[in-house]
Symmetry: C2
Subunit: 165 residues, 2 copies
Amino acid sequence: MSGKEGAGRYETTLCYLYGPKGVLMLHRTKKENDINKDKYIGVGGHLEHGESPEDCIKREVWEETGLVMDSFRLRGILTFVIDDIDEITFLYTCDAFSGDLKTCDEGELIWIPEDRIDTLPIWPGDKLFFRLLSERQDVFSLKLHYVKDELVDAALDGKKIDFVV
Amino acid sequence: MSGKEGAGRYETTLCYLYGPKGVLMLHRTKKENDINKDKYIGVGGHLEHGESPEDCIKREVWEETGLVMDSFRLRGILTFVIDDIDEITFLYTCDAFSGDLKTCDEGELIWIPEDRIDTLPIWPGDKLFFRLLSERQDVFSLKLHYVKDELVDAALDGKKIDFVV
């Protein structure tokens, strides 16, 4: 989730980089009034004027991590419905990158072994898409309906699903 | 393209239904001040609050054609950059549907044999994505940069491409 507040439509990107030490997660400890405060999320941000989702995620990964993605792939479309907010997020994974990891203004960048992700404080819907990332090779569309912090409904590829998180 | 005017970000869906007599196209003859006036396009429209792209395209196909889609699939993400406008379009194809075709308020619905599409007045970028629909089985991301009616740049999956339309 983007952290923007108030009614509106937002378009964002989100990427998980997979390296030898695990998955690169951003522990959001630094920003004030952050909807993601203390949660572990991926790298990404808002589409700017003139950007495709790919333009945006390349820029955001570079700005937030100092890394250049050499190979990345669209894996999912996430629709977040949170009260009056609609947010569409383009979800990517990256398995080849170059450069040196830098310090990020928005939190601490940490490599997390894949099997430990479920034990971290992450959004309940994020657990659902991590499962899909491990199960699906094609691009999925996951709709996540939150009321405040609580995930109340989910749909996959247009069909409502039951879930336990 | 959605036909909305002025600066802003828009999220839309677009679907081509494939039936025994060809591809269902909407000949936009009816709306005043229509950016798509006299062009042939697909069926679709704007995402409403609380909708995923799948919710939106099911609703739009039903509203505009009277048909219910029994099987449809996300095929591409289109990024239109047109002067101050940014529009993200989720492109679908449908190969199974039921119901009776109705009259559409926005134009005439016509089944067009697939090999005739290139001969119709369609947007130059639409010719590019029709080629991709025939070549690609995975979800592609196509960015189309227009200055007024002219396609000036295109990128596929984040990389600039040369094109002839």
